[in-house]
Amino acid sequence: MSALALAAMQTAAIPRVGGEATPAAMLAYLIVIAVIAAWATRRTRNAADFFVAGRALGTVVLGVSAMAATLSGFTFIGGPGLFYGLGATALFIVLPASLTNTLGAWTLARPLHDLGRTHGVITIPGAIGARYGSRAAQGWAAAAILVALIGYIATNFLALGYVLSAVFGVSLSAGIWIGAAAVLAYTVAGGILAGVYADVFQGAVMALASVAACWYALRSGGGLGGISRTLVASDASLLSPWGTGGAITALSWFFVFGVGSLAQPHIAHKYLMARDVERFRWYPMVMTVAMTLTLLLYLTVGIAVKAMVARGAMPPLARNDDAMPAFLVHAVPAALAGVVFAGVAAAIMSTVNSFLSVGAAALTHDLPQAMGRRAGGAGSASGAGGETLVSGAGHASRDLVRGRVATVALALAAVAVAHAPGAQVAFLGVFGYGLFASTLVPALAVGLNWPGATARGAVASIVTGLVVTLAGETASYLGWYRLPAGVPWSGVALVAATLVFVAVSGAERLRAGGTR
């Protein structure tokens, strides 16, 4: 499997750890989520509330919610496992966060917020459609998002199934259904409004779990210096600047996870929810602080466990992904294990909620609109902002029902996919991040900021991203052709789509007689 795919998923069983404290912490976590859901459901009255949280979010909610949606369960389980196996190579998945926490707001926040206000846009494909005046661009963007996110949601349901199975001792299938039902309960009832406020709580749980785990990780190895000395003595390549994965893989990840971060629709979607543009001023700072705290676990646990194994304080692991559970068994109190598992569930659920909302909007809004049908929401009637969703269209309750039905349908499809053999689920999840990056970076992130971009360029780049990613990952999965030396298909697809976008747009401008 492409290592990039690991960023999105957890597709192997997790050993049971933590004793009685873990189920208790998990239950407490789920009860708080239920309370938040009940509160948010009462406030969800129309499609604007359901899809863009009534365009009423403040800075802290935006920032913490974006962080919680960005980091999936991989941060807590797969990430430490990747560090354990590849050393510093794993760093390059999160290293771009030093740029991307600000870059998103820098390039997307204002244009998207303004499109939301002026054109009633409530979705990312809708923003692309409005930008280019092109139903085709909107439709292709929606199709790309749907293709990518079914597998992505399925892998997250599978991960949640493993977590619940490890905590409560239920079967994997029961874990998947319980997890999906929990996410659906608050997503269907309260939509993204419930999601973002749950995200704030979930983000706090994730940060708390991460800081505590980091403290124990550093303590177990005699501080960062002690861990480094141990690892350098046992296998220096782990802490070489590129890790054991090598420079090509590491730098490719920096490229894809850096530039590609601008195309994650569940994060960009948040920019449509701000109360006003002033809310963005300190958004990068809030997100940076929240993200830094939550990534401490990712950065330290994997290498701490590797050092413990090197010192003989822990037996070698059978699988890399056992790094976190082994750490919880050997190095932390049982109560903290419960908090960490709650953090894993929080990370997964916050990501899934955001994706379900994005997917439901694509189904009920973007695809019908791309096919020339009236869709609920954006800018029907007067062309104002979110308020038209209520008063202008007069279809508010029907749009809300459609949104809820689409959410359930997407979740059920993802649950069905999650029950497929693990390798197939992982294969479908492979598309996620890379497909978003290659199909949406040019049309969305570049296009919203470049007057020279054209609709044909946008469509061409989206199709290029789709074809290269799907063909390449399929060929790789089936063993027909693998790129050499750690070059990821997602990197190739992002490069191809960007160059096609610039070339087609540039050619059209030339044909039209120069710059506009």
Partner: protein
């Protein structure tokens, strides 16, 4: 419409992005053709990834109308920092490395220069360069403003009329609409 200066800034950003992506493409092509990475491929990848990242900042700064000399200097500095860190890590010998702030020297250079310094500088720069908003602090009014200014102002002049967004029927006359990077075709 974006001002000529903003449009020129955006064109520069796209040119920079194209150059960065082309460097990555060159590295990938060489690796695929040869089957193994040539010695210069990691250097080209580091160059391309750094330039592409900075290019997106240039694009955003042009759209936000903040591509001033100071911001340009900061972005140039950011690009130099990223590139210097990656190239230093590629250039330094890997044997007998001393620890620097708890990490082997080459990894420390990458981790602290790429992962830490921008973390401190960029959010503050964003907050300080964000122009005061005409609609700021008037959240509820923001949406209404979009409606009652229908058909007037900068947004409409950008001509989204025929497509999806066309239903919206126009833009706003506010600063918010004028600064928007969208719809531009």
């Amino acid at each position: 419409m974006p001002s000529p200066r903003e449009a020129a800034g955006a064109d520069r950003g796209v040119a920079l992005l194209t150059a960065g992506v082309a460097a990555v493409a060159l590295a990938y092509a060489a690796i695929v053709v040869r089957g193994v990475p040539p010695w210069w491929a990691p250097w080209a990848l580091a160059l391309g990834a750094s330039v592409a990242s900075v290019a997106m900042f240039v694009l955003g700064a042009a759209t936000r109308g903040v591509l001033t000399r100071r911001v340009t200097a900061l972005l140039v500095g950011l690009g130099v920092l990223l590139l210097a860190a990656f190239w230093t890590a590629l250039a330094l010998p890997g044997t007998g490395e001393p620890l620097l702030l708890g990490l082997p020297r080459r990894l420390a250079v990458v981790f602290y220069a790429v992962g830490f310094i921008p973390l401190l500088v960029l959010p503050l720069t964003f907050a300080r360069t964000m122009p005061p908003s005409a609609t700021g602090g008037a959240g509820g009014a923001g949406g209404a403003g979009g409606g009652d200014a229908s058909g007037a102002g900068g947004g409409a002049s950008r001509g989204v009329g025929d497509g999806v967004g066309g239903e919206a029927g126009g833009g706003v006359g506010s600063e918010s609409g004028r600064r928007s990077g969208a719809p531009l075709t």
